[in-house]
């Protein structure tokens, strides 16, 4: 299917000056947040395009608070960290590591669902996929926490600086064997991925050689992890302290070596600077962002009109991610109708977006912290079945949906995952997920209330379809929707009357039941539309 030729765009990086209408706003919101909510759209009511993008890219917003001890009970008595307090400053490792790993991963889900009007969580997930590490392998909750903190803090910062920090990140050192890399037998794992997956890629202009990988591995020798403290340290005797020479691709760069920790740090600096002297690094990252935020197919026109100019800007501005994102998101290419509604939601986009759009209320930490975390854990588990486990991508290449040709995003959807997507969200509409005295459930009446005219079945359907389906559904489907709301009656006034009855007397169980049962049927029908899977 992916080889079929479809309409494409010639649009480039010029600022978008088309209509700043709801469709354009919703497109921006869907791609930069987890699903667009009514609240998000309303927030943009009096903001222009520039304001909206500046706010979405605001990197001064404070970081989310660290993950907490939710697991304290008679069987799990953590002597160092009380219930409701964070464990990230406590002794590293220990007998509660697995609970803490849950705490970290589930809290991450919570951050996606409770995200601000800000691109940070989606960028963080982008970088998580880019610098993919598997928590089942690096194992320590604390490493996971530090890793995601690094991603969040630098998600709109400078790419070169992020790569330098990533090189000595504990999760990464452990995951790609950096900690085992020593002079007498250099381990090439990180050195290879640094070039192949993190910076240069495998494009036609990424002509580094096997010897470049060996030389880079030598540069990175000597770094270890202290498993008593959880900190990184350097062992001089393990460092390859002779000069390294790189291939013609790197202009035969001679990297001068030393033996002290200071020398080794400078070597990393030099290595990364050498790599980042290549324009291809900028192109590679722009392409990666393109696949994440716009579409998976990059044809020659897009390469020439969009990727290359963006790569120039990125390269000329010291790999400033924020500037790159701003230019990308403001562009006529991003807003081109050819690029709207063509992403297939990832499982996290689908589930976190569903929770946000369907006004699902989670228990509050201050009321019942265990349940709060467990409910996030429930979403984590569903996402996992749908083939996206946050904190645990399938390999160092990340999720295949972002790199596997020719199917890319289509890999999320198959005959197993599609019915599950529908049934999980259908349960959250009909019965909800119950646990510990709390019910996680779509609030169908609340969503309907946020539309512009809930008592008018036509307007209600139009508003809901506009928000929930990036691609308009057929008139026939809209008629079906209306017949659900009207129980097949011909007159709109029957719904209007039912809705007004409820509004006049919201505590009347029968009035409530009458509108709610129809709204549930309607929402269950909407999420079954293939259009709902798009973003």
């Amino acid at each position: 299917m992916s080889i079929q030729k479809t309409a494409r765009t010639h649009a480039g990086i010029n600022k978008y000056n088309g209509p700043w209408d709801d469709a354009a706003k919703l497109h921006l919101l869907r791609r930069t947040l987890f699903g667009a909510t009514f609240r998000d759209l309303k927030y943009l009511e009096n903001k222009n395009l520039s304001d909206a993008i500046n706010e979405i890219l605001d990197d001064s917003v404070s970081l989310p608070s660290p993950p907490l001890n939710y697991y304290q009970n008679d069987n799990n008595n953590d002597p160092n960290v009380p219930l409701g307090k964070t464990w990230v400053n406590d002794t590293f490792g220990g007998q509660f590591n697995s609970q803490r790993r849950n705490s970290w991963a589930w809290d991450w889900i919570g951050n996606c669902i409770n995200q601000n009007f800000n691109i940070r969580e989606k960028m963080t997930l982008f970088w998580h996929n880019h610098f993919a590490t598997e928590s089942s392998i690096f194992a320590y909750a604390y490493f996971g926490f530090e890793h995601t903190k690094l991603l969040r803090e630098n998600c709109l910062g400078d790419f070169k600086g992020l790569v330098k920090k990533m090189t000595l990140d504990k999760a990464m050192l452990r995951y790609l064997n950096g900690e085992k890399n020593q002079a007498k037998a250099p381990d090439e794992n990180y050195a290879r991925e640094l070039q192949e997956l993190f910076t240069l890629g495998k494009g036609e202009q990424a002509n580094y050689t096997e010897s470049d990988i060996i030389e880079a591995a030598k540069v990175l020798t000597g770094w270890r992890i202290n498993y008593k403290t959880g900190e990184v340290y350097f062992t001089e005797s393990r460092h390859y302290d002779k000069n390294k020479v790189f291939s013609k691709f790197y202009n035969n760069y001679l990297l001068r070596a030393g033996s002290s920790q200071e020398d080794a740090e400078k070597e990393i600096d030099d290595l990364v600077n050498m790599i980042f002297a290549k324009k291809e690094v900028a192109r590679f990252l722009v392409r990666r962002l393109y696949v994440w935020f716009i579409y998976y197919e990059i044809d020659e026109t897009t390469e020439a009109n969009f990727i290359e100019p963006l790569a120039d800007i990125f390269f000329d501005n010291n790999f400033d991610i924020k500037l790159l994102m701003k230019t990308m998101l403001e562009s006529e290419h991003f807003f081109d109708t050819a690029n709207r509604a063509c992403m297939i939601k990832s499982p996290l986009d689908y589930l976190a977006g569903f929770c946000r759009q369907f006004e699902i209320e989670f228990p509050r930490i201050e009321d019942d912290i265990e349940n709060t975390y467990r409910m996030w854990g429930y979403i984590y588990y569903l996402s996992s079945i749908l083939q996206q486990t946050i904190g645990n991508p399938p390999s160092v290449s990340g999720w295949p949906a972002y790199h596997q040709m020719p199917s890319f995003h289509e890999l999320w959807i198959n005959t197993d995952t599609l019915p599950k997507r529908v049934s999980y969200t259908e349960y959250l509409i009909w019965t909800g997920y119950n646990r510990g005295g709390f019910r996680l459930q779509a609030d169908t009446i609340k969503i309907a209330s946020k539309t512009s005219k809930p008592e008018d079945p036509n307007q209600l359907i139009q508003d809901l379809v506009k928000h929930l389906c990036p691609l308009d559904v057929s008139d026939e489907v809209k008629l079906d929707m209306k017949s659900i709301l009207l129980s097949n009656q011909p007159l709109d006034s029957y719904w209007t009357e039912a809705w007004m009855n409820y509004i006049a007397e919201p505590t009347n169980e029968t009035f409530k039941n009458t509108v709610e049962s129809r709204l549930k049927l309607l929402f269950a029908y909407i999420i079954k539309q293939s259009e709902y899977q798009l973003s």
């Binding site: 299917m1 992916s2 079929q4 479809t6 309409a7 494409r8 579409y295 197919e297 050819a338 690029n339 709207r340 063509c342 992403m343 297939i344 467990r374 429930y378 588990y381 569903l382 079945i385 995003h409 289509e410 959807i413 198959n414 005959t415 599609l418 599950k420 999980y424 259908e426 349960y427 009909w430 019965t431 997920y433 119950n434 646990r435 510990g436 005295g437 990036p470 691609l471 057929s474 026939e476 489907v477 079906d480 659900i484 129980s487 097949n488 009656q489 011909p490 007159l491 029957y494 009357e497 029968t510 039941n513 009458t514 049962s517 049927l521 269950a524 029908y525 293939s530 899977q533 798009l534």
Partner: protein
């Protein structure tokens, strides 16, 4: 022996590993001894025809002995006495002139007329009254499940876990149309499948698709293709449609009801074991101009509707006869209410109360059950026809005498005791264990014994090693108690439901384990 056969034949509680969502889990088969009664296998089919909007019963089945008072109350819509169709064996009651075919079916004993069907404290809101008819609730009670949904859940309690399977390959219920009917809503899941066109599933796999040639169109088409490939019932429905046929020449292809019933006959003849089909015809909300005064009160909008009903049912019955299926199929019309006795000034009638209902098929007893409504000399504007037969007595009769449920199970589906009516031939046979197997069909995550119970019942359930929550709900889906709400090790577990403080009646055990949801009805007795 494959897993499903094993589940069906396991004599003892057995733990069998299966895989759900990539996680190894265990489900267990329900033992035969838990359903030790002998049950009847049935291949009976029910076809529900909804006359949407509230049918004017007084102009459908006309009480000729009340004609003079009717004349006073609704002269502008009343049918000329001389044009009313006679019904065999009675002078007092006749049919609307447009229903000659139903007249004939009545004569042949294939039509059962039930008089004054409704419920106490009639509600005249379309929505509310439909909800009452669909759920079988009392007028002041809110139920979330449909009566057919509860019936199907009683028969296949594990659905949808492990469905379709070798024991039941076919959809349990089919709604002809695009949207599943609330009548098929079970406790936690809708038991029906919406089929607008049985060939639809294949059509979309071809290039005949309206998706635009754009990036989003390409992805949409991809998702639609997967959606149709993953609809586990698409293939069987399509095969049944290919294999089945229609033999009657009488269907009017231009009429929606006839077209819907034609599909139903074809699917039944194609071998589907689907128990219930629902079809619908709209337009009965005749507030204005229900008759065409220029040509006579026996013509107009309402006459056309009744004619379509009559012709479509007749063609359907003819088809069933020719296909050799008439023994297996029972049909029934219903409408959310009748209309007011007094007509309004716009030659129409407003929302009323009780109304007659038709059942048809080879196995109805035939004739008329119930008396003509009494029309007073002075009719108030608000007066409707008084209820004579509670619609839930009809449902109970269908469950007991058509679907062959034991009385205790009829009560637990209907949530109260409603006596059966003498309207159906006795076609139930006993002695088969097929129904016991059917009850085990699929993956069992929870069951209890004994059931019904007096003081307490033992609840057995499986865990895939994750969090399990089991709650007890009343019939209005209110949570009464929580039996389990914790992480459970992989395997089988037991808990006791102590019912000493529960009032006798039907309750639901709701099992929930992250991605599995299963409900089971349990009955507390004195």
């Amino acid at each position: 022996m494959n897993r499903k056969e094993f589940l069906q034949t396991a004599g003892q509680l057995s733990l069998i590993p299966v895989v759900i969502g990539g996680q190894p889990i265990r489900a267990f088969g329900k033992t035969l001894s838990n359903t030790a009664n002998t049950f009847t296998e049935t291949d009976h089919v029910l076809v529900l025809i909804e006359l949407n909007g509230g049918n004017d019963g007084l102009n459908t089945v006309i009480p000729l002995d009340q004609y003079s008072n009717l004349f006073k109350a609704r002269e502008n819509v009343l049918i000329d006495e001389n044009k009313v169709l006679n019904l065999e064996g009675t002078e007092k009651t006749g049919l609307h002139p447009s229903m000659t075919k139903l007249q004939e079916m009545h004569k042949n004993g294939e039509l059962q007329i039930l008089q004054g069907v409704g419920y106490p404290n009639q509600n005249r809101s379309h929505f509310r009254s439909k909800d009452i008819w669909v759920t079988g609730s009392d007028s002041d009670e809110n139920l979330n499940s449909g009566w057919i949904g509860r019936y199907l859940a009683n028969e296949w309690p594990n659905y949808p876990e492990g469905f379709p399977n070798d024991n039941m390959k076919d959809p349990l219920a089919i709604q002809i149309g695009s949207v599943v009917s609330p009548v098929c809503q079970g406790i936690s899941v809708n038991m029906g499948l919406a089929v607008s066109n049985p060939d639809y599933f294949y059509e979309l796999l071809t290039d005949d698709d309206s998706t635009p040639n754009t990036r989003s169109g390409r992805e949409l088409k991809f998702i639609r293709t997967v959606a149709h490939q993953s609809n586990e019932y698409a293939k069987v429905v399509n095969e049944a449609s290919e294999k089945g046929s229609n033999k009657s020449e009488l269907y009017d292809e231009t009429e929606s009801l006839a077209k819907q019933l034609k599909i139903v006959a074809r699917l039944i003849s194609g071998g589907l074991r689907t128990r219930v089909y629902t079809v619908t015809l709209g337009g009965f909300d005749t507030h204005a101009n229900q008759i065409d005064a220029s040509t006579g009160n026996e013509e107009g909008a309402h006459a056309n509707l009744l004619n379509r009903v009559s012709e479509a049912i007749y063609a359907f019955q003819d088809d069933l006869k020719l296909l050799g299926l008439e023994d297996r199929v029972l049909g029934m019309t219903y409408s959310e209410f009748g209309r007011r006795i007094k007509s309004n000034a716009s030659s129409g009638t407003d929302h009323g109360s009780a109304a007659p209902l038709f059942m048809f098929g080879k196995n109805v007893k035939g004739g008329i059950l119930g008396e003509n409504p009494q029309i007073a000399d002075e009719v108030e504007t608000g007066d409707g026809v008084e209820m004579e037969i509670d619609f839930r007595n009809i449902y109970s009769s269908v469950l007991k005498n058509w679907f062959c449920l034991p009385s205790s199970e009829v009560d637990s589906v209907m949530l109260q005791n409603f006596d059966s009516l003498d309207i159906l031939e006795d076609t139930c046979q006993t002695g088969s264990v097929a129904r016991a197997l059917q009850k085990k069909s699929g993956d069992t995550w929870i069951y209890n014994y004994p059931n019904p119970f007096v003081e307490s019942t033992t609840v057995k359930y499986a865990s895939n090693g994750r969090h399990v929550r089991i709650s007890v709900l009343d019939t209005q889906a209110r949570e009464i108690s929580v039996l389990v709400d914790e992480d459970k090790s992989e395997g089988e577990h037991t808990t006791i439901l102590n019912a000493s403080s529960m009032t006798p009646g039907v309750y639901y055990l709701q099992y929930q384990s992250e991605d599995v949801m299963q409900s089971r009805s349990v009955v507390k007795i004195r």
